[in-house]
Amino acid sequence: MPRAFVRFAVRRTLLAALTVLLVSSAAMALVRLAPGDALSDFEMSLEAAAAERERLGLDAPFLTQYAAWLGRAIRLDFGQSLKYRRPVQDLIGERVGNTVLLGASALLLATLIGLPAGILTGSRRGPLASLARGVSFALLSIPPLVTSFVLLLFAAATGLFPVGGMGALPGGGSIEVARYLALPCLAIALPMAAVIERLQSEAVRDALADPSVRAARARGCSRARLVWRHARRLSLKPVIALYGVLVGTVLSGSFVVEIVMAWPGLGALTYEALVARDLYLVAGCAAAGALCLSAGVLASDLALAVADPRVTEPS
């Protein structure tokens, strides 16, 4: 492995770790900044509340509290959730897998639809390509918030798919999980497939105008080979670069879909934690979310570096 690549990978990994630290710290600071705390919703006397705050360490100055939390977090102890009275890492462990499952399947589905569609619209004219282009343009305007409602309506009207939730048993058969996964996954994947299609289409069109492709054509390459081999390779780079951005889009979309469709994931948990001012749970969720995000971006960066070694050179 070339040294430039290793240095690039190390730098990016450190950056990802820094992001996780910063995001969870910022989330914690924001919750502390907010008026009220986890106890303000409970009916209790001022003395009892003060005693409880002292017991939970909520009355300590922020920096003391933060230092204590950081010290424990490094040892992977993220504290107790004030709302659920359970360790934060247990709560997150139950949820993060669901979000990763939803996000990864949505990303995969969007790729499976978007990439071929983009190659089609980028390389051809005709009714089929026009149709794909039109559908894609319309889907670009329909965010997950809207798609999830429309899909729910479809589920309620036809009864083909369950309306929300994740089934009785999370560990139930994979067919059962897939049935529940279908709609939330589609709700995120459809708008994203449109984004991928638009970019892939433009990249293929540019690639087909590239001198190397024209040279291949002059050598007598077949049209299919030109598009699916030469142009596809050239168009790989901008599309891989897009995935670094899409990971964030997936997480945003997943938040909305988890709440509309009652998918028990990290987004819904983060929301609950924020509203309950559950300090440690917020910080834990932020750390887990940032970890998902950074891992996705890192994977995309490394894939890009493999596809185009030039990106490992410092700009």
Binding site: A138, V146, L199, L251
Partner: protein, 335 residues
């Protein structure tokens, strides 16, 4: 200057929506908060021009009669068509008859969906427009400062911008919103939301403006302006920032739909506007409740409105000048 047809269509659509929001008082058939106890989940009553006997007549609607209160079953009363009249009872178009007219049906409290939709357009689009303008302004200032000054300030500002942009936007908005008191009055919600959106949205504009200003400031015309004594502020405002205006317009087309969605999401989860101020997100909250969707699919009207506005903005932004095209850049939308 003539617009390409797609952009013209988008601009026309946006104009219609803006006019509907501005003229909400005229368009709403009933006060948006009025509850019709006998018309809970009443279906839409489309205007007709052909009556039950197949005869053509001036536009009219059939009144609804509640047949079964428990099952919420309504029947059209074919015997008494109500003619539609222009400018009657303070509304642009109203039905003339004993029974109320609900063009888009009613919600679970018996409120007219159309009235709430046009009222909600004011709140939802108002916040989004204000926040877009604010984010562009803040982004332009930060970007101009960073691009012009360079050095540490540049590094610091752009690092902050990159950090915010790398995070999923909805979480940034959510976390910032949660730092404000959870329960707020209507006006406070409006300003809090706008402020939160501006804080989440400025980096997008700042990044691009910085790139333009940093590139343009070494050009001959900037040099010339400086040499005849133009000060920093004048140079930025009169010479450098105008070079970024096309790019700023492109950013607006990304920010506005994102903010409309952010409002809808926040109000949907209960951190945005609350009753009785209608907003599109709040209306969607009603639609998401229990079996409302199966019983009253017309409650999805605000989802349609959101898609329509985003579609219109996308139309306007399509085929933009190739120089301002953000392709391949790490631009992201806010959802």
């Amino acid at each position: 200057m003539t617009l390409p047809p797609r952009r013209a269509a988008g601009a026309a659509l946006l104009g219609i929506v803006a006019a509907a929001a501005a003229g909400a008082d005229l368009l709403q058939v009933h006060p948006s908060a009025r509850q019709f106890r006998d018309f809970v989940y009443a279906p839409p009553m489309p205007p007709r021009i052909v009556d039950a006997g197949g005869r053509l007549r001036p536009p009219f609607v059939y009144p609804l009669r509640l047949e079964d209160r428990l099952e919420r079953r309504f029947v059209e009363d074919r015997a008494q068509p109500m003619p539609l009249r222009l400018f009657s009872g303070g509304a642009l178009l109203a039905a003339d008859g004993p029974s109320p007219w609900f063009p888009l049906g009613t919600d679970g409290l018996g409120r007219d969906v159309l009235s709430r939709l046009v009222r909600g357009a004011r709140t939802s689009l108002g916040v989004a427009f204000l926040a877009s303008a604010g984010a562009l302004l803040l982004g332009a200032v930060a970007g101009a400062l960073a691009g012009y000054a360079g050095g540490r300030l540049d590094d610091g500002l752009m690092w902050a911008a990159d950090f915010v942009m790398a995070l999923p936007a909805i979480y940034v908005v959510l976390a910032l919103r949660a730092a404000a008191p959870l329960v707020l009055g209507a006006a406070e919600v409006f300003w809090t939301m706008a402020a939160v959106f501006i804080l989440a949205g400025w980096p997008l504009a700042a990044r691009t403006v910085r790139a333009v200003v940093a590139a343009e400031r070494t050009r001959e015309y900037a040099e010339a302006a400086r040499s005849i004594g133009a000060g920093t502020v004048r140079l930025l405002l009169r010479h450098l920032l105008p070079a970024a205006h096309g790019i700023l317009a492109a950013q607006a087309a990304l920010l506005l739909p994102g903010f409309i969605l952010a409002e809808a999401t926040l109000s949907f989860v209960g951190l945005g506007f609350g009753e009785p101020i209608p907003s599109w997100g709040l209306m969607l909250q009603d639609a998401g409740r229990g079996r409302a969707l199966a019983e009253a699919p017309w409650l999805l009207a605000p989802a349609g409105a959101i898609a329509l506005v985003v579609f219109a903005v996308n139309l306007v932004a399509s085929e933009r000048a190739s120089g301002a095209s953000p392709r391949y850049s790490r631009d992201k939308s806010l959802w």
